[in-house]
């Protein structure tokens, strides 16, 4: 195995990055609030700021503690009982032994596509959800590879980090949208103040550029995580072929777009649930090639 990524490093890096991101999100909201209030009416500065602070803190907290529930709910996942899904449970139990991790809660979602996702802020609150299609169409070893990949995400605290990134992207685009739209409703001519005009231009520029930049950063981060999770899957199973065959099957299955899945959840999935829309995952062939070298 070449260039193996050490686990502990990955975990502490992810933890640090997610705390760092929380701080960044907080400040981004402050700055946006400041610029917007300066552009509109400095008198409202404190009102907007206080509102923005309360809003951002509660948003972060809710997402931090409930990301798994939100994700499960939004795809309509049901808990997988041991009696009905014995193989699924057995495979995950084996992988948990191999990785020394607590067993995550297991869910199933109604879909004929082959896909899976993981969530939860740390391994103790881990959640894995697979589609019915994956359970039916994948062989035991292939399914194991997919599950190991998801467990890899949980082990390296990817979910915490990715959720924070997703929250940041969402917030920034919401704020920018609100600001840009609010411009249409305000009369022109009323503001001749030059400092106001400057802030207005900064505000507009920020509102347009920020979401785009953040979006691309998110995509590249998300792609890197996939390779890491593939690597940890191999570390757990010592059997890259299972994962390779699963990826191959997904490529051949000609997956159609999943309408029920929110776009914001795309990075959480095993393979991209959307065709053409932003690449949150590296191409399947590339992942297979990397796996073959292990």
């Amino acid at each position: 195995m070449k260039q193996r990524v050490d686990f502990r490093d990955q975990i502490s890096k992810n933890k640090m990055k997610s705390y760092f991101l929380m701080v960044v999100i907080f400040f981004v909201i402050l700055i946006l609030g400041y610029v917007i209030s300066m552009a509109t009416d400095p008198g409202y500065f404190f009102v907007i700021m206080i509102f923005a602070i309360i809003f951002s803190i509660s948003y972060l907290l809710v997402n931090f503690y409930h990301s798994d529930k939100i994700a499960l709910k939004s795809v309509g996942a049901k808990e997988a009982k041991r009696i009905d899904y014995r193989d699924y449970h057995n495979l995950v139990e084996g992988l948990c032994i191999a990785s020394g991790m607590p067993k995550p809660r297991l869910y199933v979602m109604e879909s004929s596509m082959i896909n899976a996702f993981a969530s939860g802020r740390d391994p103790e609150h881990g959640v894995i959800c697979v589609t019915k299609g994956a359970l039916e169409k994948l062989e035991r070893r292939e399914l194991e590879g997919v599950l190991a990949h998801e467990l890899g995400h949980i082990a390296s605290y990817d979910m915490r980090y990715m959720t924070m990134v997703a929250v940041m992207v969402g917030m920034i685009s919401i704020i920018s949208q609100v600001f840009l739209r609010s411009l249409w409703f305000r009369g022109r001519g009323s503001s001749n103040d030059s400092s106001k005009a400057i802030f207005m231009i900064i505000g507009i520029a920020l509102a347009i550029i920020a979401p785009i930049v953040v979006y691309f950063v998110q995509m590249s981060i998300s792609r890197k995580r996939e390779f890491t999770a593939d690597a940890s899957a191999v570390k757990f199973t010592r059997y890259p072929n299972g994962l390779i065959k699963a990826l191959d099957k997904i490529g051949k299955a000609n997956q159609s777009n999943e309408k029920k899945v929110n776009k914001a959840l795309a990075p959480l999935f095993f393979s991209n649930p959307f065709k053409g829309a932003g690449r949150t995952h590296p191409p399947l062939e590339e992942r297979i090639n990397v796996l073959k070298r292990m």
Binding site: E93, G94, I97, S99, G100
Partner: protein, 183 residues
Amino acid sequence: MWEIIILAIVVIIGGMFFGYYNRFVTLSNRIDNSLSQIDVQLKRRADLIPNLINTVKGFAKHETAAIKAVTDARKALVGAKGVEKKVEADKKLESALKTIFAIAEGYPDLKANTNFLELQKELTSTEDKVAYSRQYYNDSILTYNLLCRTFPGVLFANIYSKKPRTYLEIAAEEKEVVKVDFN
């Protein structure tokens, strides 16, 4: 100024003493834990055998040799002391089970029996778990040994008199068997 630098150095070195001690303790605990995990899985495997034997007896009474081989192997596994011996015994049990499953192919009723199928599934997945627990045991030893052998861990290993541990050897052909079984 000098006082601050000296104080900082003392704090850092003191912190390393604590940090490395805790790291050694955590890692040896992990090794012990994973060792008992192997035990747990082997025991569960042994517990499944009597049920399987009863089911097989119901359909294929005349295969006494194969049945006896499995019960003997199970007895050896239960009686074995130490992980190495237990793993050894488990290997014998695995090959005895293979004979039983091969024989079952000749008994359509047995092959279609849901109880038998369930047990077969459970046994294969416990075999999976045994393999994974051994793998995790060796992984834990690997991390521990790396800490013992690399700098600066090696200094602290000497101070706390921690010695590298030996791996649980797994025969290559056996590992292959585990992988092939499920396809």
